[in-house]
Amino acid sequence: MDTKRVVFVGVGGQGNLLASRLLGEAALSQGIQTVVSEIHGMAQRGGIVESAVLMGEVSSPIVSNGEADVLVGFEPVETLRALGKCNQETLVITNTHPLPPFTVSVGQGTYPPVDEMLDLIQTKIRRVIALDGDAMAAEVGNPLSLNMVMLGALIGSGSIPITAEVMKKTIEQSTKKAFLESNLKAFDLGYESAQSQ
């Protein structure tokens, strides 16, 4: 298979480390060589959390600037901030729901309008999938399922060789029973949204 380099960015608490780990588990169970890299330590402190999943004939655990095949952004400003990882052909999948950093509240910066950020990304990137992941997570009654929505969108985009069936099975194996139904629903909403874009 071709090498696929997927970069995840988000904010501490959004669950992107779990998403990248589950994607790695799914790849392994499909017999695809995979490495997952994570930056720990900031997750509980509201900082930026970045992870990467590399699949195929590749052993490097990280993705250089301009070399991501897919960028999955859990928060629009963080998607834009990580755009340096992309080239024109990178698929960008982004949540549109803003999570302004605290610096904005104390007047140390302004949060750009989401529409303008999306327009800007679309001028630079050929294919962009944008979805309100938080709304979908709310719809299934589990605000913490944003990461499942984003995984659904990633699989739904058809950009990586992991099937929805394998991904959902991996989610099943790692989710507490109480959240399983909502997690799978969240995955489906993200999947369908990406398929329709």
Binding site: V11, G12, R21, G24, E25, L28, Q33, T34, V35, V36, S37, E38, I39, H40, G41, M42, Q44, R45, G46, G47, I48, E57, V58, S59, S60, P61, I62, V63, S64, N65, G66, E67, V77, E78, L80, R81, L83, G84, K85, C86, N87, Q88, T90, P100, P101, F102, T103, V104, S105, V106, Q108, G109, T110, Y111, P112, E116, L120, T123, K124, I125
Partner: protein, 615 residues
């Protein structure tokens, strides 16, 4: 059952590098493990902590790295296979025992994990601990991926036992925090007791003994060098004329680069998995078959300089370069693109790198620095100290979550070099300046290396206030216990040492124990400390809210809200304490009900009493 106790040889698992090290140790019959936690090493002892609750494995969080190494030394000379883990700067703390432990050696296998942190993701420096192998004379192993982290760890125990020397296992963040496929091997039984055979003229490092031991170390060093020649991860790969020497995670960047560039048939890689002592025979074989050499190693040009020296010794004249080729530098970490460009440039391979998107037109984005959590008691303590001392005091600080107090609006961190430096540097600041000095240290860091500084402060009559931020855990690295922690909620029984008694035992007369969420009383204590002519200690005691939640000790308080009829938008709440539960809706300060834990600090500082508990 802990997943690393899965007894299915041949099974494939996706493991974090640190989990792979722990598994490798268990496959080697690890019986004894100690550590002081530190990123990026912390997930290794985290596994041992849990596994020790299910098996006979002895594990302890030791007071600091020096203690951890000495505790481990006692076990390893008594015949128990032992692992001691720490971050790179931790080995500075443990360097004293390390240097002489290298002389007297061990009986059972002992592996010391040193986790380096290129790019300083979570550290105060990016020192290259490969120098410690050179300094101590101990063998160093450097795995390159998750599978090797398990396999090499297991082999390291055998190597250590054969040489009767501790072995240094060096990793970097990009190995510790990478998940990859690991094929499990067989678990080995854990031994609970060993036997110490007295031999004072070997184990008591007096000068007459150590003169013999130094000679012994050099003999073992030669043995180690011979083993390095045939070590399975010291490999010559390929037979082309272009030589590339590499180690650790960089091996992956090199491998990917030569396949991306399609130059497999032109390149010979020398992979150094057993990187000290140098396998000079293997290096000669490598140098003989290549025309010129590129050394791809993160941080210091250690292999680069060593290879030049070996080449000179062998009378081989070939171009050997590393730092300075392309973007290869001594700073930060490498990445695949950087290594690909450097290889293409050095060997003159035509290559068009992918074009990153043009980032012009992107507006300035708001920064998102990490922040103290909602309801973090440190925020309250900082507020109270600033209200009393104003902006003018000098604030030496220390290593922990509270170091985030460097950021506005708290801005109360002026000096930090290493664990424990808050206390000792305060002695210097208070003597050398006319400023008031209030320093901050966490409870775990205080036990790690604050006590000696405090004894010094008392003995030498220094005058400052030390605030011990006692949140009942080692929060920064993931809530490990320390000597001052009540470990019962964590499921283990360890003796809790009373911090206040320790402080008084150090000779401090002016000691205040406060609950930081009670701002008025806390400020009164700070004021009393400020007026005291001598050394004062304020112990600010409140559980880390994340730890409290994880261990079922969370406050049962309601979140607060802003009463819009009362709020006059002074914004003291946002401007002075900056809790991340607060946000602006238009111009109105609001409180996120899901994030607020009801610490009531903002409610106490609101001049209009507009912040109230939710019904």
């Amino acid at each position: 059952m802990h997943k690393l106790l899965t007894d299915s040889p041949g099974k494939e698992m996706l493991l974090l590098g640190n989990e792979a090290i722990a598994r490798g140790a268990l496959e080697a019959g690890l019986s004894f493990a100690t550590c002081y936690p530190g990123t990026p090493s912390s997930e290794i002892p985290e596994q041992f902590f849990r596994i020790s609750q299910e098996t006979d494995l002895y594990f302890e969080y030791s007071t600091n790295e020096k203690v951890a190494l000495e505790v481990g030394a006692g076990a390893a000379v008594s015949g128990l296979r032992t692992m001691v883990t720490m971050k790179h700067v931790g080995l500075n703390v443990a360097a004293d025992p390390l240097m002489t432990l290298a002389y007297s050696g061990v009986k059972a296998g002992m592996v010391i994990v040193t986790a380096d942190d290129p790019y300083l993701f979570s550290s105060q420096n990016e020192q290259d601990n490969r120098y410690y192998a050179r300094l101590s004379g101990l063998p160093m192993l450097e795995p390159t991926n998750t599978q090797e982290m398990k396999d090499i760890t297991k082999m390291a125990f055998d190597l250590s036992e054969q040489l009767e020397l501790p072995v240094l296992l060096r990793t970097t963040t990009r190995l510790n925090h990478v998940r990859g496929k690991v094929v499990l091997g067989e678990l080995q039984p854990i031994r609970t007791k060993g036997e110490f055979r007295r031999n004072p003229f070997h184990f008591v490092a007096i000068p007459a003994v150590s003169r013999k031991l130094h000679k012994l170390l050099l003999e073992k060093y030669d043995q180690a060098a011979r083993k390095a020649e045939s070590w399975p991860t010291n490999q010559i790969i390929g037979n082309g004329p272009w030589g590339i020497v590499t180690n650790g995670v960089s091996f992956n960047y090199v491998s990917d680069a030569i396949s991306d560039l399609g130059i497999q048939d032109k390149v010979t890689i020398l992979k150094l998995g057993f990187s000290w002592p140098l396998p000079k025979g293997l290096i000669k074989q490598f140098l003989d078959q290549v025309d010129k050499v590129l050394v791809v190693e993160e941080l210091e040009p250690i292999n680069e300089n060593d290879f030049r020296a070996v080449a000179e010794e062998l009378g081989i004249t070939k171009l050997i370069k590393g730092k300075g080729v392309g973007e290869l530098s001594r700073l930060f970490e490498y990445d695949p693109g950087m290594v690909r460009r450097a290889i293409a440039q050095y060997f003159e391979v035509p290559y068009e790198p992918p074009k990153p998107v043009d980032l012009s037109g992107i507006p300035e984005l708001p920064a998102r620095p990490p922040n103290l959590c909602p309801g973090c008691p440190h925020r309250a303590t900082y507020y109270a100290v600033k209200e009393v001392y104003g902006e003018d005091a000098i604030h030496p600080t220390d290593i922990g979550c509270y170091t985030l107090g460097v950021l506005p609006p708290i801005s109360m961190a002026d000096y930090l070099i290493c664990m424990g430096s808050s206390v000792s540097s305060s002695c210097g600041f208070s003597q050398a300046t006319d400023k008031k000095v209030v320093s901050f240290i966490g409870d775990s860091t205080f036990f790690h290396s604050g006590i000696t500084g405090l004894v010094n402060a008392v003995h030498n009559n220094h005058k400052f206030t030390l605030v011990i931020l006692d949140n009942g855990t080692t929060a920064m690295t993931g809530h490990q216990p320390h000597p001052g922690v009540d470990t019962t909620p964590m499921g283990v029984q360890r003796t809790q040492i009373d911090l206040e008694q320790v402080v008084r035992g150090c000779g401090v007369k002016d000691v205040h124990v406060v609950k930081p969420f009670k701002l008025k009383k806390t400020m009164e204590a700070v004021k009393a400390a400020m007026e005291y002519d001598g050394i004062s200690v304020i112990i600010s005691k409140e559980l880390c809210p994340l730890f409290a939640r994880a261990t079922g000790q969370a406050r049962k308080a309601k979140p607060f809200y802003v009463n819009l009829d009362k709020c006059k938008n002074h914004r003291d709440c946002i401007n002075k304490i900056a809790c991340p539960a607060m946000y602006l809706e238009g111009e109105q300060v609001m409180i996120n009900q899901n994030l607020c834990i009801g610490c009531a600090v903002c409610a106490q500082i609101c001049p209009e009493n507009a912040i109230l508990p939710s019904k």
